[in-house]
Amino acid sequence: MSAQTLESKLAILSDAAKYDASCASSGSTKRDSRDGKGLGSNGGSGICHAYAPDGRCISLLKILMTNFCIYDCAYCVNRVSSNVQRARFTVDEVVKLTIEFYRRNYIEGLFLSSGIIRSPDVTMSDMVQIARKLRHEENFRGYIHLKTIPDAAPELIAEAGLLADRLSINVELPTDAAVTQLAPEKNPAQIRKAMAYVRLRKQESADRSHTGKQPPRFAPAGQSTQVIVGADASNDATILGQSTRLYSSYGLKRVYYSAFSPIPDSSKNLPLIRPPLQREHRLYQADWLLRFYGFELDEITGVTPDGNLELDFDPKLAWALAHRGVFPLDVNRASRELLLRVPGFGVKTVNRILSTRRHRSLRYEDLTRIGVSMKKAGAFVTATGWSPAALTDSAGLRARFAPPPEQLSLL
């Protein structure tokens, strides 16, 4: 076999990395290189440096260290039984790519993941070596996201957390049973233990020592995980149930939902499907409602009998249509908690309404100026000079929001 060029390795190993949804580069410690002794900065909020035609942002150089893997996960393009072309970066190649891309303002940093080679410890130790070289030899102050290998030794995870901004461990599937079936080498209990370890280390690093000294920050941008949607038969209630458990147990920053998407050389154990993109989108919306809008899990998933979110309506609208007795709400009097339940009102909008109604009573046009989409919210609120009258309870309301009927394709 002839030696692969850097470019062909990059092609193979970025192609292999694209099934990881996370690309966040936000929420870490603020730092910069104004002292002239290093490269890179981190300002709190992330920057998306490009967008691919799949609509996803490209913020980090998202690559695998290698796509050789000893595991055989049915949904994964890199599983050992797949015949995709394999490649492996050296430590220096990853470091050079990251630095050169960063200097040209292509990226915010590196998202390094890897197939598992030889053993989890060996793999993790190579990944940590890359991060160490970037931080200590290249004085790189940009963002680093390391995928953690759950079975790796705690000491390696500990070092990874001190070098990286974010650590992530994928739970992969919504239930332990599905993991056992589709990813037989992975151990769900071990994955949870690793997430628990990261949370504990994060807590420790937040405590000051008795001298008042702050210990080095551990994974300042937190940890995240990803779950594949549509590869097993779990319904949305199961998926969101797992997410709420993960958020509350391990203090995750994000749970990413990734619609199971066709891979080259698929496994015969897992037939390909059209990626359920709309379902993925609804799951993200529901995830937000759970975390920022005060919704309970069974409120969202209880709207439909089968525990799946409605695909035609966003989960908040679906809830509102099923609970019309609560509406219409008076925007000039209703509490914050209730305003957050109005379809078309976001957290920012509600804050603006609350600050503005201290000065005046709000009219329809005030609401549009504040940024409300009254097309959506109009049926659920009253304002000075605006009442939806019978619209809130009308039988046709549901149809107003339903997407236009689509002509079925003949082919």
């Binding site: 290189s33 900065s41 035609p53 050169e100 891309f101 015969k268």
Partner: protein, 473 residues
């Protein structure tokens, strides 16, 4: 009032302060950009008046963004709101005010333009190899006057290199840590940069053709920016080929797994397992081990020895020449040194469980001698099975790992011992672990001073492990 195109924010603030302190109402001021000719009835600005002006903090932030907008009416609108703020200081928290809504919209536009500039500027390498600082340049076409307010961002980010951002509006350069602003320029010829090809390769391959969402891409990356971004040239072809690629994936029949898959999976099956026999059978099982090839050449597996309820477990690397012959750990030259140092540290070897990370001797025959070979990672991992079984049987409170191989088996990390030794750390099962040098390392040091220092370190670590093992729970 004419506003310069560089330093606009300060100029507007000074002008507004002068006017408002002199009580000049908004309708008697005309504002203009530098580019506009002065009006026929323009007069000189008045002298600073007596009235002290206080402005809500929110307005200053708003004005500092809005001045960079390209709408010529921005200065007048800002001044009008400033004028109104004199009587209604709470105006800033009114989210429904029409003037403020217009200003906020401008602020949003400017922030978005700044954000897109941070994201879409593409530098090319213009330096020569061997320069002390590397040097980059970019051509960019911002919608609003955002070069000046965004330049500090690039200075913070690219502190160790020189850069220039050239635009038709204002150009910024950062040379040796100094930001300089200059008038806009025409597009200069910039040298080709080989990294652009790599970047485009990345862009092509990170794209998932099964999730085509062109509108989502364009709303975040409007076409007006495309011409200065190298990767966008690939977009039409990526979109065009996407459906065919997905069809191809769906149509392809599952292939037969490569030959190595079965072998690898067999190896994986051994990774997660633990030895499940009874502790009494452990020694016999280790003696009969054929998990890796080392057993073929060695005389025998060298078992650990010591009380089966020892509070301290000492782990070395592997048996050496003497140990392989005798079938006992730590009896060769390194073992002798270990015994001596242990004694000096007050540690009774008989009370500790002494074993090795790898149970068989790995060597290369050279003439009439056997030269010690360091076990590779795979061998260490195979033998970790036995070490874990020994740990489970003895349940020590403290483990002293001597040398990088023992550290690898216990922590997964075999990096330099000098920086890691001498402190107690906690393993996943709450056992305490102390790392230290291997005695044979000390024997290899030539310089007597260094050898002495390393021996002292090892003795200290032995004492530490001993102390920890005596400490009550």
């Amino acid at each position: 009032m004419t506003m310069p195109s560089i330093g606009t924010a300060l100029a507007w603030r000074d002008a507004a302060r002068t006017l408002i302190s002199a009580n000049v109402p908004p309708q008697s001021v005309t504002w203009g950009d530098e580019a506009e000719p002065p009006g026929l009835w323009d007069t000189d600005p008045p002298a600073v008046g007596e009235t002290a002006v206080t402005v809500p903090r929110g307005f200053i932030a708003l004005a500092n963004a809005v001045v960079w907008h390209n709408d010529p009416a921005r200065f007048a609108l800002l001044y009008r709101v400033l004028w109104r703020l004199r009587d209604t200081p709470h105006l800033m928290s009114d989210r429904a005010d029409a003037d403020l809504a217009a200003l906020r919209q401008m602020e949003k536009n400017v922030h978005r333009c700044q954000h897109k500039m941070k994201a879409f500027v593409r530098f090319r390498d213009v330096g020569t190899p061997g320069d002390a600082r590397r040097s980059f340049a970019a051509w960019f076409e911002p919608t609003h006057h955002t070069v000046e307010p965004t330049a500090p961002f690039f200075a913070r980010r690219f502190g160790d290199m020189d850069w220039r951002i050239i635009t038709p509006d204002v150009s910024a350069s950062f040379i040796n840590g100094q930001i300089t602003l200059a008038a806009g320029q025409a597009k200069p010829p910039l040298p080709e940069d080989a990294s652009e090809q790599l970047w485009t390769t990345y862009f092509r391959n990170i794209f998932n053709p099964a999730r085509l969402k062109v509108k989502a891409m364009q709303s975040e990356m409007p076409k007006k920016y495309w011409k200065n971004m190298p990767e966008t040239a690939a977009i039409p072809e990526m979109i065009e080929n996407a459906p065919a690629r997905v069809q191809e994936m769906n149509r392809a029949a599952p292939t037969i797994p490569p030959l190595r898959a079965a072998k690898v999976l067999k190896h994986v099956a051994t990774l997660g397992t633990v030895w499940s026999g009874s502790p009494d059978e452990l020694t016999a099982a280790i003696s009969a081990c054929t998990r890796c090839d080392l057993h073929c050449n060695a005389t025998q597996a060298v078992l650990g020895e010591g009380p089966s309820d020892a509070a301290l477990m000492i782990v070395g690397e592997q048996p050496g020449d003497q140990e392989d012959l005798a079938g006992r750990p730590f009896v060769g030259p390194a073992g002798k040194l270990f015994d001596q140092l242990a004694k000096e540290a007050g540690l009774d070897r008989e009370k500790a469980y002494v074993t090795n990370a790898v149970k068989h001797f790995k060597f290369k025959p050279q003439g009439r001698r056997r030269i010690h070979q360091r076990p590779n990672t795979s061998e260490v991992l195979h033998c970790k099975w036995w070490l874990d079984a020994e740990r489970a049987a003895v349940k020590p409170k403290v483990i002293l790992a001597m040398g990088a191989t023992a550290a690898l088996a216990l922590t997964g990390n075999c990096s330099d011992m000098a920086g890691r030794r001498g402190v107690a750390r906690i393993l996943a099962d709450d056992t305490q672990l102390v790392l230290t040098f291997h005695p044979s390392y000390i024997l290899r040091i030539r310089d007597p001073g260094e050898r002495h220092a390393a021996a002292n370190d090892l003795r200290r670590d032995l004492a530490l492990a001993h102390r920890l093992s005596l400490k009550p729970e």
